[in-house]
Symmetry: C2
Subunit: 341 residues, 2 copies
Amino acid sequence: MIIDIHGHYTTAPAALEAWRQRQIAALGNRAAAPRASELRIGDDEIRDSIQSNQLRLMRERGIDLTVFSPRASYMAHHVGGFETSAAWASVCNELCHRVAQLFPEHFVGAAMLPQSPGVDPRTCVAEIDRCVNDYGFVAINLNPDPSGGHWTSPPLSDRYWYPVYERMVEYDIPAMIHVSTSCNACFHTTGAHYLNADTTAFMQCLDSDLFTDFPTLRFVIPHGGGAAPYHWGRFRGLAQALKRPPLAEHLLHNVFFDTCVYHQPGIDLLTKVIPVENVLFASEMIGAVRGIDPETGFAYDDTRRYVEAASLSDADRWKIFEGNARRVYPRLAAALEAQSR
Amino acid sequence: MIIDIHGHYTTAPAALEAWRQRQIAALGNRAAAPRASELRIGDDEIRDSIQSNQLRLMRERGIDLTVFSPRASYMAHHVGGFETSAAWASVCNELCHRVAQLFPEHFVGAAMLPQSPGVDPRTCVAEIDRCVNDYGFVAINLNPDPSGGHWTSPPLSDRYWYPVYERMVEYDIPAMIHVSTSCNACFHTTGAHYLNADTTAFMQCLDSDLFTDFPTLRFVIPHGGGAAPYHWGRFRGLAQALKRPPLAEHLLHNVFFDTCVYHQPGIDLLTKVIPVENVLFASEMIGAVRGIDPETGFAYDDTRRYVEAASLSDADRWKIFEGNARRVYPRLAAALEAQSR
């Protein structure tokens, strides 16, 4: 089977955005804030939004299952304070849960966290608990920069983040390290901020002993690892200069890259440079890059084609499409086994 | 011949750093600031610092000429105000000029600018004038983030930067877009901030009409273009989504990438994905990554080996090693012609 570990609910019914706009309009006036119960979206609307979009493309492309989380650019953790993010994360996660309930063979949830700049990440633990225990989610998305492009939080290696890591280890769930909208005019959201965050997170891990403290902690760096695989020699050399162990030993039990790289030469490099055990299939479809590549005639984000065309043995391709996802997301593996898949 | 368009004077005599430390210690107390004349470095010291370092490696590696600028990480434009940066840029540029005078066949200068966060870039024009007219420099380094990792300046496409571009166009000199030390704990200087800045600058150009306003303006994006070539499909797709022309038409008359990518697969991707006319040989030797790669037994930054091994015709390899540099740096071409080279 083919598991896409990076999908967001970018096509949620319009009522969700309207609710968010009401929430933003009410900032500073708690009495005017909309209640979660005021967001009314019927199952049929959810079904339509999925069947005509993600599920249609998954069927066309032969993708069986997607790890599905709230729309990344809409997390916008910089808006309001903790209560704002808590209410927003709650409704967004619930919608992903409903998608997974409606299409249990095709979607499994990953949680957005109620992060807020300057707020102790410990406050996110209750939402992790709820999403794992009540919803059966198999992962979280962790935003290393809830300020939205101002980078005011400590690096991921800082003890500041440890309460989240402790819960991740307890539940044996990975985190995808994923920023949200940039509100810094220097950084285009999907063309700079996302990729920069990937590179930044990788380097924060490299220049730390984080995985000595948490040997079973697992991070998925999306968008093919930002600049990391392309500059793998640079990073190997920097690890050496910083007196760190070789990258395979220092990071590759804990750090994984997805295949959201939207052309063949990029996937060829990724699968050549990075050990196959550390590459997980993903497309982030109906996401940042929705067009058709005139050079190929196919969608840029139809990453299955690139992985199929890469120089890989069948066994290695299976790891990228399925095996690694089962290993890195044990709760996904358990959910599949419960379905006899 | 082989021209390395990206070298910094990372090995300057210790007196330079001591002078800078005095300057920093005197911040806020103008009377205590050291004068430029108090920096005393003899020609022999300069000769030694170059002959035992850059020139030794250039000879070993068969590199004929380096475009040489002050040490990037030491520019530290965030320190002090305009006067601090003006004095510091002045002494650093003068030292590079002296290197070029002492070794006219092997070094030609590129200027560091006296940038300072929040200060109008127009204030940099006098130093550009001085370096081009008095020193014969052939390029400048432009820092898109003089704050050092807080990204408080407008994007490079903003009219804010136009006074610098007007002078560049007048002199027909390119700018390498190069940040300095990060003072944001999230960003490791050479492992994250440099690469992020490259990606960011590229995307700022993509999402703008800058080169409609300045059709002859030329930017060199160092470190192999950050994440751009690895994600070329993403950027082609983003250009499409943003209703921009195809990248070749939109950017590639004006944007160039160097070869500071420190492993073979990275250079293979770069030279495959980016038109050969847009790739310029560089090593940034004795820079960010000074070690020996245990996988090859050679220095990570010995980039000539990777370019030699890439799948390129002799004519294309000549463009990368020499031809493109002559075209993108016309004042370099003129200087070489004056030497009958």
